[in-house]
Amino acid sequence: MATDRKSRYLASVYGLGISLGVAFLVMLIMIFIMSKAPMQTLYYFFVGPLMNKYYLGNMLNAAAPLILTGLGISFAFKSSMFNLGGEGQVYVGGLAATAVCLMIPEMSAVIGIPLSLAAALGAGALVAGLSGYFKYKWKTDELISTFLISNALIFIVDNLITGVLHDPESSLLVSRKIAEQFWFLKILLPSNLNISILFILLLAVLAYFYLFKTHQGYEMRITGLSPEFARYGGINVKKYFLIPMVLSGGLHGLAGAVSVMGTQHMLFKGFSGGMGWNGIAVALIARNHPIAVIPAALFFAYIEAGAKSAMINSDVTMEIAAVVQAVVFYLITAKVIQDLAARRSVKV
């Protein structure tokens, strides 16, 4: 059993290595074709995010919400549910946190911060939970319903940003700034890294215990592995159409709140910026394991920071990161690659 587990683990590491290797190869080719100074571009891509405290801290800070969305997707995937509405859930969470903070500008942080975090958690949970409920009640396909609801909400939040929440003193499409007492404490100046990262790491550990050490976590995993088997074992399978979605949406909402209160201090149009989609990639790379989500999120934040640094310091656009991520997406679930890797790891 132990060796079996070890070889499976090795296989997934090798499989991951192959996927990432191909992705980097694609990136190298792109940069050599498109950049007039490819070596300089590559240097800033790889070294840029680690160059100084500012870049390093910002990269770690970008990983924080990705850990949350990655955990959120992991809960859904572990139960064989799809949540393609991450973008909208992050957006709605950010909206809820901003709205609460703007409503109580005089309130002390001790009450205000938990209140706005709870609002974000609730908003995200409600949005994703709705799709879970439709599935629970009438077997409505959650894959499409999460996406559609999320997209509709993005437009509606856009409208609120340019409408009731809009900062009249700004010509940009941004909301008013939240009061300063609600800003999270920064821990690596001058970067945006703040104390939320510590709580988020703790949350990943809690998620691990919930999923692997509690009864409900066990039932959720069994249902995800084989609903037939779970039903046969007396598990209320339908319950796990709802619970993972609520958890998933709640974590996405929290990611939105953390970005508002830790980094942006306001809401702006397009603010979710791929956090939801990247959460899916993070969960896939981590194979839905809550602890593995942490390095996976760091990896993603690194690629994005590298692409940004290459854009600022050289002559490529940061969307090359999206192409690299797409290649990872393509290969990450490929069984043939995993089998290949499994054979390789057995030999070793």
């Binding site: 439709f134 559609l148 656009t317 991520q325 393509y330 290969l331």
Partner: protein
């Protein structure tokens, strides 16, 4: 306001607007019948939209430009299909990958070729020919509604008929449907179902390429993310249309009508544009939930 003055342009416009839904829907129907939920439609439309306007501008010819761009979307559909079928990857995830790739690659290429990530305008781009039938135009109502569209609209209708023939009247169609309904039986019969799945994916690349071309060639420009969720709505059109070509024609028309109406509504109702943009998604969710309730009742 005269009733006809309002409703005739409304319906006429719906027919133009519905065409991308219709084309992508027919392609998605093929993969759906082959047993795969194809969420890559969105990305394939975007790739088609991008390359069609670029190639038409580069060649100066509608025919060659369209041909090259269709080859391009078929190529990307092939990548999607090859990874899914031959490397045995999860079709949802590879579909997402295709959408992510489409968004990233179009931006990277636009920046590389034109130095901008914004709107690409092309001067003197050849316009899509409009099909007119002066002798039939005189027919009241029907003439006004059915004629005067660009040729891709009519190509869409031809494709509906072709799809119907292909699905219901040819051995290919039987095998395609067999692949979706009973994969293992097809294997047992010595028919390679993966081949049918691949062909279905390539057809969806072709029709999505056309759907994208309708968007940009009509506009004469490329706008970032011009597909704007049409591939997702096409998926719902497939379901609403009961997974038949003519059903999809009807469902696509309803979506065309809804969008056309909301465009008009901006003129006389004071609705913020964001709500109008959100509307198709909301109405689709409502339709999906109502359908699953109906299904649920039937089963109970």
């Amino acid at each position: 306001m005269n009733n006809n003055e309002f409703s005739i342009p409304l319906i006429h416009n719906s027919i133009g607007i519905m065409t991308p839904f219709l084309l992508a829907g027919i392609g998605g129907l093929m993969t759906e019948l082959a047993g795969m939920l194809n969420i890559a439609l969105e990305g394939l439309i975007l790739i088609g939209a991008f390359f069609s306007v670029i190639f038409v501008a580069a060649t100066g010819s509608l025919f060659w430009g369209l041909l090259f761009s269709l080859l391009m979307t078929i190529f990307f559909a092939f990548i999607f299909g090859a990874v899914t079928l031959y490397l045995k990857a999860n079709v949802f995830i590879t579909g997402l990958a295709t959408n992510l790739l489409a968004g990233g690659l179009t931006t990277v290429l636009a920046f590389y070729l034109y130095g901008t990530k914004g709107v690409l305008m092309f001067e003197g781009l050849p316009a899509l020919p409009v099909f007119r039938m002066p002798s039939l135009h005189g027919i009241p109502l029907i003439g006004d509604i059915l004629f005067g569209h660009n040729i891709l609209v009519y190509l869409g209708w031809i494709i509906v008929v072709l799809a119907w023939v292909l699905i219901y009247k040819t051995p290919f169609g039987y095998r395609l449907r067999g692949t979706g309904s009973n994969f293992d039986a097809m294997v047992a019969l010595g028919i390679r179902p993966q081949r049918y799945q691949m062909i279905a994916i390539l057809i969806s690349g072709l029709t999505c390429g056309l759907a994208g071309a309708v968007l940009t060639l009509n506009l004469g420009a490329y706008v970032p993310n011009i597909s704007a969720g049409r591939g997702w709505i096409a998926l719902v059109v497939i379901y609403l249309g009961g997974k038949t070509p003519f059903g999809i024609l009807g469902a696509a028309f309803i979506f065309g009508l809804a969008e056309s109406f909301s465009n008009y509504a901006q003129g006389f109702l004071d609705i913020p544009v964001d709500f109008i943009l959100a509307f198709p998604y909301l109405i689709t969710v409502v339709a999906m939930v109502l359908m699953s309730i109906a299904q649920h009742r039937k089963e109970a």
